[in-house]
Symmetry: C2
Subunit: 776 residues, 2 copies
Amino acid sequence: MEENSREDNDIVIEGMMGYERKDSGMSVDEYGAMIKEPLLVKNRINTTSQIAIVGANVCPIESLDYEIIENELFKQDWRSRKKSEIFHYVVLKWTLALLIGLGTGLVGFFNNMAVENLAGFKLLLTNNLMLKDKYFQGFAAYAGCNLVLAIAAAALCAYIAPAAAGSGIPEVKAYLNGVDAHSILAPSTLFVKIFGSIFGVAAGFVVGKEGPMVHTGACIANLLGQGGSRKYHLTWRWLRYFKNDRDRRDLITCGAAAGVAAAFRAPVGGVLFALEEAASWWRSALLWRTFFTTAVVAVVLRGLIEFCRGGNCGLFGEGGLIMFDVNSAKTTYSTADLLAVIFLGVIGGILGSLYNYFVDKVLRAYSIVNERGPAFKVLLVITISLLTSCCSYGLPWLSKCIPCPAYLEERCPTIGRSGNYKNFQCPPNHYNDLASLFLNTNDDAIRNLLSSGNSKEFHLYTLLVFFVAIYFLGIITYGIAVPSGLFIPVILAGSSYGRLVGMLLGSLSDLDVGLFALLGAASFLGGTMRMTVSLCVILLELTNDLLMLPLVMLVLLISKTVADSFNHGVYDQIVKMKGLPYMEAHAEPYMRHLVASDVVSGPLITFSGVEKVGNIYHALKITRHNGFPVIDEPPFSEAPELCGLVLRSHLLVLLKAKRFTKQRVMTGSDTVRMFKAHDFAKAGSGKGVKFEDLDINEGEMEMFVDLHPITNTSPYTVVETMSLAKAAVLFREVGLRHLCVVPKTTGRPPIVGILTRHDFMPEHILGLYPHIKPHK
Amino acid sequence: MEENSREDNDIVIEGMMGYERKDSGMSVDEYGAMIKEPLLVKNRINTTSQIAIVGANVCPIESLDYEIIENELFKQDWRSRKKSEIFHYVVLKWTLALLIGLGTGLVGFFNNMAVENLAGFKLLLTNNLMLKDKYFQGFAAYAGCNLVLAIAAAALCAYIAPAAAGSGIPEVKAYLNGVDAHSILAPSTLFVKIFGSIFGVAAGFVVGKEGPMVHTGACIANLLGQGGSRKYHLTWRWLRYFKNDRDRRDLITCGAAAGVAAAFRAPVGGVLFALEEAASWWRSALLWRTFFTTAVVAVVLRGLIEFCRGGNCGLFGEGGLIMFDVNSAKTTYSTADLLAVIFLGVIGGILGSLYNYFVDKVLRAYSIVNERGPAFKVLLVITISLLTSCCSYGLPWLSKCIPCPAYLEERCPTIGRSGNYKNFQCPPNHYNDLASLFLNTNDDAIRNLLSSGNSKEFHLYTLLVFFVAIYFLGIITYGIAVPSGLFIPVILAGSSYGRLVGMLLGSLSDLDVGLFALLGAASFLGGTMRMTVSLCVILLELTNDLLMLPLVMLVLLISKTVADSFNHGVYDQIVKMKGLPYMEAHAEPYMRHLVASDVVSGPLITFSGVEKVGNIYHALKITRHNGFPVIDEPPFSEAPELCGLVLRSHLLVLLKAKRFTKQRVMTGSDTVRMFKAHDFAKAGSGKGVKFEDLDINEGEMEMFVDLHPITNTSPYTVVETMSLAKAAVLFREVGLRHLCVVPKTTGRPPIVGILTRHDFMPEHILGLYPHIKPHK
């Protein structure tokens, strides 16, 4: 049982509590036996519906402590804090923001350069073989390169850091909401995310590097904030100020913004992305620091691109670091134009929400394969890679050759890697328009789709084939064990859809087809991701044209509204599917019918202000609770009263130090002198004192330890009759991990239970009260 | 005493409480006498330092109730809520957002058109007289027009709506923080704000129409949200859903964003302004609705400008609705360029913080004059108007005539109203560069300063004179009884400063002087307003050039950092000076040394669950408390326990209905049947049942009334030993008006006191604990 409960994630178990122990006088072991039953019941409620989906090897999920633990040690530290220390802290904060910007900017650039060179080499090789009419060898070279790169990416993901697969944005979003999935920001994840993303994108998958960049930025921020990695002997001692979840959260918000800024060269868009999609708590001061970080990213990228202009970066420079030129000199729109745009938005919203629906289904199907082990993951990747290669190389054969248009600035057919007019199998002076889209990097394909002026560049039929292929390739690619962003697939599908609609409606509206393609991309983005302002600004920064702002806004608003009536945004969906207990900003309506005590369940483990070591040891052993209420009892107080809350991690440090006494006496001042506040600072995930590190002998088990110095004497409390909805608002707005529920009437024990994140999850509440209708 | 306490603002008095009444068995009248002393002490602490400044005729300040009052009536209403009602509510929310966008867009356009026509007429008149060499008549016409317009604006402000003076942004900011200054969003304020701003700007004052537009947007939102104005018989009954402070806050956030969007034609900038500067609470859903509102504004403006292109709007179209064209085709910067920009930012930051310092001093000086009455206000406006006219007309005489440059696209000297090359006193084919800046609307002057290409267009000396004049005119103009925005004066001063620096450093840097002017404006904006992302986006949208983004970001970051080390942002300063109790997002460091019970003071008025009517009547009479704890006592409960909190406004409605009983019995279900939740909905400010409306006879005074149905049974509580800092975080993050402090130990009365906004104000806390060092 103990091993079993250890396997489960802590938030599931934190929910159980009650107050029987002290009253019934059971030993901790008996008590351990007693709680088996409710524990199992609870697990059934949660694991079957939610957590089972992520697979057999469930990763432990930790909640984060954003609350300031105001115990005696903290207060002592606070009182003795010198002005110079505060100054150092501020300087460090900004230095870290600078370093995050620099790091993310460099990685973003490196990522782009590597992709451009790898993919460029592959495409040139294929092209050269095709020019010599060696079509089969061309396919072999193309598919072979793709396969090798895909296997490399998959092997990294499957064997080194499984957490690096996928977009990473949902996990970062959950982290910033207070949920730490296992090793999601670990250095190994960072490494795999960077190289896996490079190989995956270069392998021709319909994936983007944007989501992975966000995750990369967050990982870099976490690495810097933790003072390096102890595992790899990279630590800086002076970063101890940042050893808490609060400051780490801020750094990771900066990192996520820097990631978007680096991916799209969109500094303002990055800030807005962090604000609108990623962060759950926001402060004005953070806005400013995030802005600084993204500005640094922009400067770094600009400098490096300048450096590359001299041809120092291999094939980089022809494409890479997307910046599209869309021409919309037209500033007045007719009613027909607007109707066309509204139509585009509505259909885009429907297709976007359908995309989410399919992604969800495919992810659930894949998780069954992926659970079987790393080898199966790699096999799945190989399958998808071959399928993608066949589509990319095979489908262009369906397309007819188009004679090159006269009077063209570009060369036609294109020589080299990127460009609008791929020759493929066509005779000289002809181009294959489908090959221009498929046999290109994704960035170049988007650039081609957004190109304005020549509305005849692509056949209707070509666009239709490309749209259908990319729409479904995008859906089946997300979820394989490769770092895979969703932005680029969605933009690709959206812009081909938009251009298609533009051509179909060409007679009605005189907007440019390139502009239609952009609006199509906007409608798909709005329909899948459901962001508004940040997408709008990102698109503006990508296209460098403010005049199309009203149309982009219109399309985004329409497609989001339409899609919202069907399902949730794709990131929210993935967060939910992964079983991450995400606290929504608003309370669910049915919570108004419940009060706090309705969802709190027993039994509860509490400690006395001065507690027997053995009791603490056993409580830590049999549960994975992270917070324990401390009750002061006579003779330390007149009646039992709630002294506060101790954290598991603090108890472990205290027990490790073995400052015990034979008698039940308060030794607070002694402890305060012995420890410093940062001895209890939160180590990075997976570090710090563990239960296994404790080595307490029989004699010490009978001794006492004073918990007062490490007890947070200001825990947030709600009365048991408090409406659950209002308790949820408090929990979420203040960013809590534990919320104490106190009795309303006097003469009862001073604490009824503790509410944790898990107790607010709809699955938990609706499991307890099946008769409640969720939407009432 | 009663009358006296009535004069003070409620938040001052809400602080007093205690629990003596029930125990000592005093009658309410004796009790009323008893609380006199602490009341006066309290008042002394606050009024002298803070509130006195705004003048003798102190306006009452109300806190807003953002908390959902979960009483029985609410729960009943919630249970019986139909799906169609929720749907109506959502549709209404969006309809209101649409209407706010439409209204603000129309007003913004009307404002611009009126200003352009009024100022244009004035300038043409002056110009024509000057052309005939009638210089004195020219001055008379110019100064006369200015004076008439100024007196009109001042009279409106002084006699009809004093709240309309000034920028309005600080008040809107305070409102969104939970502080309702008297009639700040009233219909009369809206009227005066619109016309006062038009007259003020047309009168040639160094004021902008941007701040007033924000206030206007907020007023429009409030008017719509209140279901019209009952005073003017414009009400819509179906808006009753929005009769609460929570929904009103959301609407007003939309209104503020719409104001910026209309002022600058910057929809994204508007959203970001609302987010960064105006709003204290923010939700993702609100981001989207705000974005929709600003999109509507953008569409309305675009449509109207299109309409005016045919010359339908008089003199509008030559200037108006600022959209500057800055040319920065250069995308690479040398080190010298960057150093120049950094220098610009540092000095801009210093000058910006100095600007704030002077504005504060001048405001304090003016408030002494303004307190004396409306006539003095008008006199002050007349003085400043004459001074401004003298500067504008007189200073250009110091400037030498410059021969018109050859090869110019524009006509030189300028014919008509706006343009770069004003003839003034010069011979033909010459222009007076200082007159081009002074004898223009502010928008046109900025456009001239930002014009690129010709770096010799303005003399160094001219720019210096203009900069100094505008810097000080801007300072002395803010604070007079005219709606006056701060954006334009700051941009004017900043861009002349920037262009000046650009000319001085011209040999070192090869950035354009127009770009320098823009960066100078950015540095001043950063130095005074201390916004970052929103200013950046507003400047982008104004200039329609994304390539200068990195430089603008750099300058903003530097100037804000520099200025922050001297003082606070100008809006924060004004909020503080007006004595508005603004809750900061972070707790002050010294609050960690205090606990909740340290700042709660007695005595406290509480009610029984079923209370004698007379007691309630007298409590309402002698205090202006807005929340009263309700205690259940035997026989209704076993021991005294906290039942919840009733609001003053709810008590008034209940007493007005006169459903009293002879005996002390619970009649809850009866009451629930009698009332509907919206009978207790919050009316607009100044409306609803007042104490004077009650008419209770002697017999009724001895009867009882059941308070349970209107008692909020889920008030937020903190234990008395809770750290004040953490209580402040709760208060601010959840958006409370009352926070109940409960005892830690049992056997005491169930409530210790109530914390209100005022109890968290530094003035209050430092008044109670003078030995605390504020920055420790």
